[in-house]
């Protein structure tokens, strides 16, 4: 479904710092990567296609256009595990079947988010969907590196709180 491109990749899983842009590359060698090779995620138990599907699902469930794929990759990488293998395989089969039921080859090949969302709505009640969704609530939003994208400042005690750092600095009322 996508080209195989190993350029610039190593066998090690690495999550780089640059924001990924554009479609993912699914490598035949056991990992998926951003087109600019800014990061890559190695899979050892589930297939690269399955991981790419999970990643797309994560983006479609909690879409934030200003948040790079690498954060979503962190949130779903735990599914590359023996304990999750069966659930992932069965869940993605269901997902692809739901996509085929409305005339698409599979979930990943659907171009528009709103069409993929229709597929997700069809499987919303399944344990697979709910597991992935619930896992993202902490897996995505509890990454400290993601907070600055939303303006959230996190821990403040070590900086003396906000008493001298703008607790009452609103200027537009």
């Amino acid at each position: 479904m996508t080209k195989i491109d190993r350029k610039g990749l190593t066998r090690r899983a690495l999550l780089g710092r640059a924001i990924a842009a554009g479609a993912l590359t699914v490598s035949g060698a056991g990992f998926i990567a951003a087109p600019d090779a800014a990061w890559a995620l190695e899979v050892s138990v589930i297939t690269p296609e399955q991981m790419a599907t999970l990643l797309q699902m994560a983006r479609d469930i909690y879409p934030h256009d200003q948040v790079g794929d690498r954060f979503y990759a962190v949130a779903v990488k735990g599914y590359d595990a023996e304990g999750a293998k069966e659930m992932v395989a069965a869940g993605i089969s269901e997902l692809n079947a739901a996509a085929q039921a409305i005339g698409h080859p599979d979930y990943l090949s659907i171009g528009w988010e709103e069409d993929r969302v229709k597929v997700l709505e069809a499987v919303e009640a399944t344990a697979f969907f709910q597991t992935v969704r619930a896992g993202l609530v902490t897996g995505l939003y509890n990454q400290k590196n993601i907070w600055p994208i939303f303006g959230y400042q996190g821990e403040s005690y070590s900086q003396g709180g906000y008493i001298d750092r703008g607790f009452d600095d609103i200027d537009w009322l």
Binding site: I61, H64, Y141, Y152, Y157, L173
Partner: protein, 522 residues
């Protein structure tokens, strides 16, 4: 060196739980020279241990032992194993609470007389009133250092409050201010002033917020009359052939079972664990559980009519900065049935960090409707609704089929909203949204209730033994040396955050217990 009492010392008062009720009671009794063993299921965490991180702190402090849920409330679906967001630690939920400390209004002590019979509700008047409680409230306010009481100044308003205040005034509300808070606006009682850090719910790292964990508990221990045994989970209260309680069995941190003898037992494990313990203590003499001749143990559970309103503006608010709940509108707290419901509600400022906002804004929600709200987190303001809910017989705690790590049946918490609760919540949502729209909000979110933080009423206080579990002193109607000392003794919930009232009742109960012990009545 902290005092240790013998397991077979039957002269001690055993208190189960060390929160706003048990922690205060333990210290007050110790100050009067009464020997106390306090058994606390959780561990001990102090300001240096607290963390400014919502999920990490939740893992450190929250009660996450098994509980089950049933009923039509949304919490049973979204948080089936977590009916309440309360704490398992020395000091109990006083580490996590927001600090809002307001007295009941006079009429709220007499809900049945004031509201009349409400279909489906099990209303009752408290056997005490505002006049009786006034001096105890004053002692509680002094203990907690409540702002805007005595000569204590109010806290300064943060960004979230300023938006809230502007909206409230635009709607014509008059009783709007930064609250009566057990958070120091100036140094008080060896605790420093608030540094506007946020994270009030994660334990105050400055100790500016009152918590029993670092005030009443160590002060009680310093008298030599109080021993706190942490990580001690009480399994059962035991009684003698005369029907008086004589001690408790508890599991220590290693899972070993001990028997601590007692002259008096005070239950203060919150509105889930206290009735659960009384029910789990059933015997051949008391087959329905201790103190339960009325059948009211576990009944009439109240959780306040709650909900939140968050709104997005076209410019930044940064609501997370500063004291989380220092902001209140009290105009709607009155009883005014023309609004379509009995009782009233408070509106209070509230903010959650990004991780908890993602979990609680619309539990189960997903897609762009959800994520575009979070995209504007920085421009968000928030408030919480807290109003009086109706006691109902079928709302409450029963023993579940599920067992905990000690093999004891856990609490099942059943809850259905009463139509009065729904009417009040919908009215409050509308007013909250109007407040923010008056300041230019571009989008507003009526957010459903979180897992309960105010848990009340499952061992309620009553004049007549057939109507409730305890008398006006929190003493069980059935067993004179068995007391209830937490929010479960609330007859009705009133519109106010309950901690101040729990503390006032505990100070008053300590006075009663010490007096009755001296007189050899118990």
């Amino acid at each position: 060196m902290v005092t240790k009492f013998e397991l077979n010392d039957d002269s001690v008062v055993v208190i189960i739980g060390t929160g706003a009720g048990g922690g205060v009671l333990a210290n007050e009794l110790a100050q009067k020279g009464v020997k106390v063993v306090a058994l606390e299921a959780g561990g001990r965490y102090l300001p240096e241990d607290f963390v400014n991180d919502e999920w990490e702190s939740f893992g450190q402090l929250a009660w996450t032992d098994a509980r089950t849920t049933s009923g039509s409330w949304r919490v049973a679906k979204d948080f089936a194993g977590l009916p309440a967001w309360i704490v398992k630690a020395v000091g109990g939920t006083t580490t996590h609470w927001a600090g809002a400390s307001i007295r009941f209004q006079e009429h709220e002590w007499k809900a049945l007389s004031t509201y009349g019979n409400v279909d489906g509700a099990n209303l009752l008047d408290w056997p005490i009133d505002a006049t009786e409680m006034a001096p105890w409230y004053e002692k509680a306010e002094t203990k907690l250092g409540v702002t805007r009481t005595g000569d204590r100044a109010g806290l300064p308003g943060n960004n979230n409050f300023k938006v809230f205040e502007r909206g409230a005034k635009a709607l014509g509300y008059n009783e709007v201010h930064t609250g009566r808070m057990a958070i120091n606006s100036r140094e008080y009682d060896d605790r420093m002033a608030c540094q506007q850090t946020g994270f009030c719910f994660q334990g105050c790292k400055w100790g500016a917020k009152w918590s029993a964990a670092y005030t009443d508990i160590p002060r009680g221990e310093a008298t030599g009359n109080l021993e706190v045994r942490e990580r001690s989970h009480v399994a059962r209260i035991l009684h003698n052939e005369a029907g008086k309680v004589k001690g408790v069995e508890y599991f220590d941190k290693d899972g070993n079972l001990h028997l601590q003898k007692a002259r008096i037992v005070c239950v203060a494990g919150n509105s889930f664990e206290s009735p659960r313990l009384l029910l789990n203590s059933a015997s051949s003499m008391f087959p329905n559980g201790l103190a339960n001749s009325s059948g009211m143990v576990g009944k009439n559970y109240m959780r306040h009519t709650t909900g939140s309103v968050y709104a997005i503006f076209d410019k930044p608010v940064r609501m997370w900065r500063g004291t989380t709940m220092a902001g209140i509108v009290q105009d709607e707290a009155r009883h005014d049935p023309s609004r379509g419901f009995v009782g009233g509600f408070e509106l209070e400022t509230l903010s959650l960090g990004l991780p908890f906002m993602a979990a609680f804004l619309n539990p189960g929600g997903w897609g762009r409707g959800f994520t575009t709200a979070l995209d504007h987190y920085e421009n968000m303001a928030g408030m919480w609704i807290v109003g009086e809910d109706m006691p109902q017989l079928n709302n409450g705690v029963t023993l579940s089929d599920v067992k905990d790590q000690y093999g004891l049946p856990v609490a099942n918490v059943n809850f259905d909203d009463h139509p009065n609760d729904v009417a009040m919540r919908n009215y409050a949502y509308k007013r909250g949204i109007e407040m923010y729209e008056a300041v230019g909000a571009t989008r507003a979110f009526p957010t459903p209730p979180y897992p309960s933080t105010h848990n009340l009423g499952t061992n309620r206080m009553s004049e007549k033994p057939e109507d409730g579990v305890v008398n006006k002193w929190g003493q069980s109607h059935d067993i004179s040396n068995l007391f209830v000392s937490d929010g479960s003794q609330f007859t009705t919930g009133a519109a106010e955050n309950p901690t101040l009232t729990i503390v006032a009742l505990a100070i008053r109960q300590a006075d009663f217990i010490a007096r009755e012990m001296s007189a050899n009545n118990i």
